[in-house]
């Protein structure tokens, strides 16, 4: 004797983005804070030491912000022209910046005036940085040269003249230099002007961004290109690694920041911003994301606290305690015990209990309860479908009062145009109209809902027509663009694919 088979709730494929670990992680930021700067934010750099202040280079100033304040902690304004590339030293005490006037300035983070000025470049210095031993500074300038400076003496140690274009970060060809030798060690060709470079902490991989491409190079294999990513549709301007080195972030003029998995180099998350992105930085431990844009707006996103994110999960309904479930579970019968097996009781949902008793109207009522109707419309639709299969949908729909009917119509208005539910609900809607056409005009509530349904139907029909027009256009485009083969079946297959895709 078979037991009752419950109504099957169709599982529909989830629409939209799939929720992955990454989306959960990267979505766990608070609402962004916007700070207006004087000009386009060209560079953002986090101090490597706590409390992780960050330097924002915008127009002729460098502002230093604290991790939580939205006012600059400090600002360096003694630039004669546009400042470039304000960067912290690894101990967080010194800051170096280039300038349009070709002078490189070194600041003490606590001071106000420049400690040292390095003069030697003949054109604007766009790139400045400390070397890893933190006693030297490397600068790159529009005069096609790269120079290495000694910090204490303010003397020029070395100059590399091999570049043939402005050094913005590197350029068309970018070269690797060894500080001890005055010649390039390696030259890599990116193909487009390089906007940003990033060296992995392991120093084995180099990431370059230029044009619409982000390329990864393996330095240990003589600069072999590892992968080329083309996920942006405008120039990629900045690169950044997450704190654990497992995710790579790239910002672009197309106003997106993309997060890549560094093992598969697939995009795992995407941030949208209001304007083209020029600079991007991540605080240690990914505590905040700071993005600078062309319109001079600095966008800060702080990570949610542990308590805040917990609050959401705490809202879930409390389940019976663990003890209830384990009670008697680990009791094993003794040798002489006589085992009486309890028949497993089949648990049925409320609507199934009614369906089992052939109470069709009640089954529909239970499926139309507010919670099910709003939160899980697929259950309601499945029950309607089941009633239709049993040939009793008409009986279930008939004989309703104003309230019941308006609830039904309310559900239809909400879900009739969902393509997943439409085939089932259209039959139900037709039946409702058939059954209740004699009483139209008796209740203002029902009439209003019917009018609304009609209005939405008309709009939907218009949409469909437009879609069909677009499809027709696409078909023509495909048909003309495809090389004509001896058989048209290819075209047929392709257009069939289009229909599928739609």
């Amino acid at each position: 004797m078979a037991s009752y088979k419950p109504t099957k709730i169709t599982v529909y494929p989830k629409l939209g983005e799939k929720v992955t670990q990454d989306t959960v992680y990267w979505k766990n930021y608070k609402a962004p804070i916007q700070i207006k700067e004087f000009g386009a934010v060209t560079n953002i750099n986090f101090s490597p030491v706590a409390p992780h202040n960050f330097a924002v280079t915008a127009f002729t100033r460098i502002h230093i912000y604290g991790p939580f304040s939205h006012e600059p902690v400090k600002s360096f304004t003694r630039f004669k022209d546009t400042a470039y590339c304000g960067r912290f030293r690894s101990d967080g005490q010194l800051l170096v910046a280039g300038c349009e006037d070709s002078v490189v300035r070194l600041f003490d983070v606590n001071g106000k005036v420049a400690l040292r000025m390095y003069k030697g470049h003949t054109k604007a210095v766009h790139v400045t940085d400390f070397t890893s031993d933190s006693y030297q500074i490397l600068t790159g300038s529009d005069d096609y040269s790269c120079r290495l400076w000694d910090i204490p003496n303010a003397t020029e140690l070395n100059a590399y003249q091999e570049h043939t274009d402005y050094i913005r970060c590197g350029q068309h060809l970018f070269s690797m230099f060894d500080g001890r030798v005055d010649k390039s060690v390696m030259t890599l060709d990116h193909g487009q002007p390089v906007e940003s470079l990033l060296l992995y902490p392991s120093e084995g991989l180099l990431v370059s961004a230029g044009g619409r491409f982000v390329k990864v190079w393996d330095l240990l294999k003589k600069g072999q290109p590892l992968v080329s990513l083309k996920n942006h549709h405008k120039t990629v301007t900045c690169l950044c690694l997450s704190s654990n080195g497992e995710r790579l972030l790239s910002g672009s003029l197309d106003r997106h920041v993309k997060v890549y998995n560094t093992t598969s180099y697939k995009v795992v998350h995407n941030f949208d911003y209001a304007a083209s992105i020029l600079s991007l930085a991540l605080a240690p431990n990914d505590e905040s994301i700071v993005v600078g844009m062309t319109n001079g707006i600095l966008n800060l996103k702080h990570r949610k606290n542990a308590e805040e994110s917990k609050e959401i999960s705490g809202q879930q309904r409390r389940r019976p305690s663990y003890r209830v479930f384990v009670k008697g579970k680990n009791y094993f019968p003794k040798q002489d015990d006589y085992l009486v097996s309890k028949p497993v009781k089949q648990h049925l949902a409320k609507y199934d209990k009614q369906l089992k008793k052939f109470n069709v109207s009640k089954a529909l009522d239970t499926a139309l309860e507010a919670w099910t109707r709003l939160k899980k419309p697929e259950i309601t639709v499945a029950v309607i479908k089941e009633l239709d299969r049993r040939g009793t949908l008409k009986n279930a729909l008939a004989g309703r009062d104003e309230q019941g009917l308006s609830r039904l119509l309310y559900f239809l208005i909400g879900n009739l145009f969902d393509p997943r539910f439409a085939p089932v609900l259209v039959t139900a809607a037709e039946m409702i109209l058939d059954i209740y056409q004699s009483v139209i005009g008796q209740s203002s509530v029902v009439d209003r809902q019917l009018l609304r349904l009609q209005e939405m139907l008309e709009r939907e029909i218009d949409y469909q027509q437009e879609l069909l027009e677009v499809l027709g256009m696409l078909d023509t485009v495909f048909a003309s663009s495809l090389p004509r083969k001896e058989d048209e079946s290819e075209v047929g297959a392709l257009s069939a694919r289009c229909i599928e895709a739609r």
Partner: protein, 835 residues
């Protein structure tokens, strides 16, 4: 059987067991039911078929216990004979030749040596009129007796055996036909007719469908087409008869039955609910719902303990006192139509076809038994006639048996077709198929064919389905991009079409490198790796009906049959027609294990079989008129062990066996003489008698279901046959419960085990109860003697019984005890001597 004498078409099971009502033997242990041309005897507790009673040459139309001897049974058949069987041993006792096809058989204990049979009216006109005749069975010692003494009792009866019933004590016989109920009293030799109006108020039919009469009361219950049951009383008067109406069923009542004491009335119908009405308190009723399929017959065992219902899905259910289903005897289910092809599951080697609505059945060809049903639709089946239900219409297996694809469809009235394509993965752990992917609406119209890529070495599994909407789609197993929770699932890989023609059939080549799809009269050959159209083959006129790639050495050939009586063989290397022959082929199929192909060709009401290899247009084997009618389904089932026949004509049967279904849905196969001889030898197997003791081994191996009930009821009614269980024995417990690796050697355990199986003396006390009854009279005499004897020094029997006691002097209590022991042993011994 014209050309080759040694290959024979044989009937291979699958016949109906629900055509006539089954019969339960008086001890409730055996169940007899008519099945095709034989009567099958089943055990009610183990569900096993104990033996077949073979002998009839036509369809068996009725089985009946002989009223005067409950160990014998009559069976009647369309071949015009009534046979008397000893069904416990399966021996044919007598054959009565009647000479007319018999449609049903009835008997009552009141009428000795007379049986009542239904035959068609002896008029020359070929009409659908039947009459009930009484046959006097002549007494003679011969095995074959002519019984020509027929006397008509009732004319114009229904051929349905349920519409005729004997009344209380066989005093009258009731027959219902159409809207008329007729009661014939044997004593008065008079019949009364009662008729109902054609339609009642609601326009539903009043037609009688079945009758049953109360065993102790003058009351007749009739079932009607509108679901009503009427209880007729006082029908010995023409005018003053009365009836009361019971109504629960919503459609036809197909069977009615009173329990032997007459306390309950059982009824069943399309709803597949067994309803038990209390007699005289009809408002009280019990239900046993969800029996699986519409009930066709209800039978109660003579002691009233077992109910037995046959169902429309070729199933017999045994129910213990309207509470619990204790056993299910399931035959090959034949739905309204066979919509799936016959297939062979590569794992279980079972034949697979659609069975119960919404199910696929796995049917063992070797054992002629249904293995299990796979629920494809997974929806509650609503037992209501005229309701559109989901039906499984297509199914396919991969070569390894890991994947099963099924298509179910439901056609609504307003042309809205609901289609689901489901893919099932074989789960090693549960040893069954588990649903992996459901694709709702895979095509816009009905699916015409579906096949898996049969190559075993390819990494990807591919399924191709063709549909009436003009497309064929390839489905591929793909791992999802985000590999977190769910495993691989199926998705559409390619959609193909050709000149907006309708694709009819599709097939993959043996190595999976080519796909052939036929579009009406054009065969298109595609490469599944690049989805490129490689070539088209066409042989107009006539649309392609079947397509098969050659196997092994003939893999360069593609064979197709057209609707225009043409069998074509194309060479795929030259893309040209190799040969063609004109024959009307209804079915073409290829043996998966050899190059052979079989073609069934209907010709003048019969079907011929041709077996050939694609490389030459000469048949290897041909068989004229394998059966009447058209063969539409057949399958090559791989053999478990290869035959090594070297004769050319029978070589094609070496690797696989060809099964086919005839138009009347009989499963037939081809066998050779050598094979038959071997099977005969193998069939002399031991039939497990269910009366053996319920040892712990039985508990392990036997069926768990309903064991407890059986034991309890067994104690009441048939404890006599059952020996008590040596279950409590420590030795057996130890043997079964200690893990195998720490058990001592078997030789050590053997003696202990054997001893524990011996019936100890204390146990024999209960056991010999029945012997006591036999010996009662004897004992009474004995006890008187013993009273005297016990005063004597030492009874001589005691030494004989081996119960020698050393005590020289006995107390009074001891003497009493001794006397009791002696009594028992005496009985036990004499029973041994009796044997």
């Amino acid at each position: 059987m014209v050309e080759h004498g040694d290959i024979r078409v044989v009937h291979r099971g699958g016949s109906k067991i629900n055509s006539r009502e089954p019969v339960i033997s008086s001890d409730s242990r055996l169940l007899l039911c008519a099945s095709g041309e034989c009567v099958k005897v089943f055990s009610t507790s183990t569900e096993e078929c104990i033996h077949d009673l073979r002998g009839h040459t036509g369809l068996v139309t009725g089985v009946l216990l002989r009223p005067s001897n409950h160990l014998q049974a009559y069976s009647c058949s369309a071949d015009g004979t009534v046979r008397l069987w000893d069904f416990t041993d399966g021996i044919l006792i007598k054959t009565y030749a009647i000479g007319y096809p018999i449609y049903s058989i009835h008997a009552s204990p009141n009428h000795e040596r007379v049986i009542f049979i239904v035959i068609s009216t002896l008029s020359e006109k070929k009409s659908e009129l039947f009459q009930l005749v009484a046959v006097h069975l002549p007494q003679s010692g011969d095995r074959l007796v002519e019984a020509r003494e027929l006397s008509a009792v009732l004319s114009d009866v229904s051929s349905n055996p349920a519409a005729i019933a004997f009344g209380r004590g066989g005093e009258y016989i009731v027959s219902a036909k159409g809207l008329q109920l007729e009661v014939y009293f044997f004593k008065k030799q008079k019949s009364y007719r009662f008729s109902l109006k054609e339609n009642n108020k609601k326009g539903r039919k009043n037609t009688f469908t079945c009758v049953a009469s109360h065993p102790q009361d003058d009351c007749i219950a009739t079932g009607h087409e509108d679901g009503k049951i009427r209880l007729w009383r006082n029908f010995s008067h023409k005018k003053e008869y009365t009836y009361s109406t019971l109504h629960w069923h919503h459609s036809v009542v197909s069977s009615l039955c009173f329990t032997p004491e007459g306390t309950n009335l059982l009824s069943g119908g399309v709803e597949s609910v067994l309803v038990q009405w209390r007699y005289n308190q009809e408002s009280q009723k019990d239900f046993l719902p969800r029996l699986g399929a519409a009930i066709t017959h209800i039978v109660v065992s003579p002691d009233g303990a077992l109910f037995c219902t046959s169902h429309s899905d070729n199933k017999i259910t045994i129910i213990q006192s309207c509470v619990k289903v204790s056993a299910i005897i399931q035959g090959l289910v034949k739905g309204e139509s066979l919509s799936t092809d016959l297939m062979v599951d590569p794992r279980s080697k079972a034949m697979v076809l659609n069975g119960k609505p919404g199910h696929l059945q796995f049917y063992s060809l070797q054992r002629d038994k249904l293995l299990f049903n796979l629920d494809i639709v997974q929806q509650e089946y609503i037992h209501q006639s005229g309701l559109q239900q989901f039906e499984v219409v297509k199914a396919a297996f991969t070569a390894s048996g890991n994947w099963l694809a099924s298509v179910e469809e439901r056609k609504q009235k307003d042309a809205e077709l609901e289609l689901n394509l489901k893919l099932w993965m074989f789960d090693e752990q549960s040893q069954s198929f588990v649903l992996n992917t459901t694709i709702s609406a895979p095509h816009e119209a009905r699916i015409t064919a579906m096949c898996f890529c049969q190559s075993t070495d390819s990494q990807t599994t591919m399924l191709v389905s063709t549909s009436k909407d003009g497309h064929f789609k390839a489905w591929q197993l793909a791992t999802p991009a985000h590999t977190e929770d769910d495993g691989p699932s199926w998705s559409c890989d390619f959609v193909g079409a050709y000149h907006s023609l309708v694709p009819e059939c599709c097939t993959f080549s043996a190595d999976g490198s080519l796909l052939a799809v036929s579009f009406q009269e054009v065969v298109t050959v595609w490469s599944p790796s690049s989805w490129e159209l490689l070539t088209t083959l066409s042989q107009p006129p006539g649309a392609i009906r079947d397509l098969c790639f050659g196997k092994l050495s003939c893999s360069k050939y593609l064979v197709g049959t057209t609707a225009n009586n043409l069998l074509c063989c194309w060479n795929l290397l030259t893309c040209a027609l190799e040969w063609s022959t004109s024959m009307n082929t209804s079915l073409l199929l290829a043996d998966p294990l050899s190059e052979n192909m079989a073609a069934f060709c209907p010709q003048a009401g019969f079907t011929d079989l041709f077996v050939f290899k694609p490389n030459e247009p000469r048949p290897l084997y041909s068989h004229k008129a394998v059966c009447s009618g058209n063969v539409t389904r057949a399958v090559f089932a791989p053999r478990e062990e290869m035959l090594d026949s070297c004769e050319e004509s029978s070589q094609w049967l070496n690797h696989s066996q060809l099964y086919f279904l005839t138009q009347c849905m009989d499963l037939m196969t081809f066998t050779t003489k050598a094979e038959e001889a071997r099977q005969m030898a193998a069939s002399k197997q031991l039939v497990i008698d269910d009366s053996i003791a319920m040892t712990p081994f039985h508990l392990l191996l036997g069926k768990h279901r309903g064991q407890q009930q059986q034991q309890e009821s067994g104690q009441d009614s048939l404890s006599a046959e059952r020996t008590p269980l040596p279950q409590g024995s420590a030795a057996i417990k130890e043997l079964l419960q200690t893990p195998a690796h720490i058990l001592p050697s078997t030789s050590f355990l053997c003696s202990m085990f054997v001893q524990s199986l011996l019936i100890s003396v204390t146990d024999s006390r209960e056991e010999t109860k029945h012997v006591e009854e036999e010996m009662e009279s004897e004992k009474e005499e004995d006890s008187e003697e013993e009273e005297i004897e016990s005063r004597a020094v030492r009874p001589p029997e005691m030494a004989r019984c081996g119960q020698a006691t050393e005590t020289a002097t006995l107390t009074k209590a001891q003497v009493k005890e001794l006397r009791r022991v002696k009594k028992l042993d005496h009985g036990w011994l004499s029973s041994v001597l009796d044997l």
